[in-house]
């Protein structure tokens, strides 16, 4: 059984969101990293890029496969976790600590469409 943190919101494509005022901190769930296996590369956007809800903003690569990342919210990328450039395995080791991007949301109401931990637990199995 993969770990799901109660205080986070989730997308059906297995990203998590931690809300801090207007900022959405985005990563991938424990379930997603387990499905991927050892992650060898994180393809992330640059600071200043815009992302749109439901559109892909990058990808995770394992040896065998790539898995696209879909943004749970719209807005501007204000920070990128540069540590992942050299240590993509941090996502495997600590999926809820290894955030990928921080987005300044342009429409906070988009958060209402995301899943609670309980609702996400239904699909993450």
């Amino acid at each position: 059984m993969s770990k799901i943190l109660d205080e986070l919101l989730y997308s059906e494509s297995h990203e998590w969101v931690k809300v801090d005022g207007n900022i959405a901190i985005i990563g991938v769930s424990d379930f997603a990293q387990e499905e991927m296996g050892d992650i060898t590369y994180v393809d992330a956007p640059a600071e200043g890029d815009t992302v749109a809800k439901g559109e892909d903003f990058g990808a995770l690569e394992s040896v065998k496969a790539s898995s696209e990342l879909y943004s749970p919210v719209s807005g501007n990328v204000v920070a990128v976790n540069e540590e992942l450039e050299d240590k993509p395995e941090l996502i495997n080791e600590d999926p809820y600590g290894a955030w990928i991007i921080k987005v300044e949301m342009s429409d906070k109401s988009e958060l209402d469409t995301l899943l609670s931990a309980a609702a996400y637990a239904e699909i993450a199995q």
């Binding site: 050892d38 060898t40 496969a65 790539s66």
Partner: protein, 366 residues
């Protein structure tokens, strides 16, 4: 799970080891036991064992066996001595590839063993039957009665010699020997699909299960199809369906050396002669990009102005070389070594350059 999926004799072993299973070529096969990188490195540095029981074994014999195999096979089996193996292809008349395969020249006269890809067993068998008219040969698809393991890596000679109690120091690359396990025929060949020294062992399904357990107990690392693909790719070896197909001839794939155009005839010869004389529209190349992003099968190969000139067939961030490399089928004009070509990976375009397809220096015992 798809109940159409077949299983090999080692299926229960894979499940018991907790392997990640996935459909491949109609079989439920292990992709990895621990992780692909560790299994890949075990083969490069020590010894790993693969379940390749899904491969097909088709036996040809009869007074015209040599003529028949030479008719359907691109390479020339007339030069083989008993116990020797040749790699080559079966082709359609238009030069497209039916399959790539190994031909074992048996110790009995007028007899050959053809080892074919799992996904193509039925197709190949029917192709052989259809083209056997007029030849005095018997064709037996005995695939279900054989299991097969591949033990690969620099440590394989020592461990295989020990487990089988055989001196294998004199068995050289692309040769085989017959022996017995539990009173039934078994075969060991110095062949493989990893770019390393290694052996492939064919025996009854029961014997293969016991061999598997014995090799694991001797410290050989179980390896899944995941690293089988990364290993063969680094060694520049094609996979049918990716680098060879009904639409990809051996000339396009750069495998002309396995097609003996000086033979009087074989199916597809005229098409290959024409392709050699007139050139082919597309050729298989290696491309290296200067980034950690990974070129995957299906990604477009593009010029600086965005024109699409090809497509990736297999690609990885190479485990042994720590480089992002791929095979790609590109317009022949861009095939020469050193040609700059870009690969589009999702929304970004990564500059690269064509390189030799044998990315990794192979270590065969010749």
């Amino acid at each position: 799970m798809d109940n159409q999926l077949k299983t090999t004799c080692l299926h229960g072993e894979h499940v018991a080891l907790g392997a990640k299973m996935s459909p491949f070529a109609g079989f439920d096969m292990p992709i990895q036991y621990s992780n692909i990188t560790a299994e890949h490195n075990a083969v490069r540095n020590a010894a790993g064992i693969f379940d390749v029981s899904h491969m097909g074994e088709i036996f040809i014999n009869g007074p015209q066996a040599t003529e028949f195999v030479n008719h359907i096979f691109t390479n020339d089996v007339r030069t083989l001595v008993p116990g020797q193996i040749l790699y080559g292809m079966m082709l359609y008349p238009d030069g497209g590839t039916v399959d790539d395969l190994l031909v074992y020249k048996e110790f009995a006269p007028d007899a050959y063993l053809l080892v074919v890809n799992a996904a193509n067993i039925d197709k190949d068998y029917e192709w052989m039957l259809r083209n056997a008219e007029g030849y005095e040969v018997g064709i037996l698809n005995d695939s279900d009665n054989w299991g097969q393991v591949a033990v690969q890596g620099p440590g394989s000679e020592a461990v295989v010699s020990k487990v089988l109690g055989m001196d294998l120091s004199g068995l050289v690359f692309y040769h085989f020997e017959d022996f017995e396990l539990y009173g039934k025929r078994a075969i060991i060949s110095r062949t493989g699909y990893t770019g390393e020294d290694g052996f492939e062992i064919y025996a009854t399904p029961e014997a293969i299960v016991d061999l598997w357990k014995t090799f694991l107990a001797a410290g050989v690392v179980p390896c899944g199809l995941g690293c089988r693909d990364t290993l063969r790719f680094e060694a520049g070896l094609p996979l049918y369906g990716d680098e060879l197909s009904a639409d990809i001839s051996p000339v396009m794939a750069g495998l002309s050396m396995f097609c003996k155009l000086d033979k009087e005839e074989f199916i597809g010869k005229e098409a290959l002669v024409k392709q050699k004389a007139e050139g082919v529209a597309r050729k298989l190349v290696g491309i290296e990009i200067a980034d950690r992003a990974i070129p995957r099968a299906g990604y477009p190969v593009v010029l600086d102005d965005g024109t699409e000139v090809g497509v990736v067939t297999t690609g990885y961030h190479s485990i042994s070389l720590d480089k992002s490399i791929c095979f790609a089928l590109v317009d022949a004009a861009y095939a020469p070594l050193g040609t700059p070509l870009n690969i589009q990976i999702r929304h970004k375009v990564f500059p690269g350059v064509t390189v030799k397809k044998r990315f990794y220096q192979t270590n065969y015992k010749k």
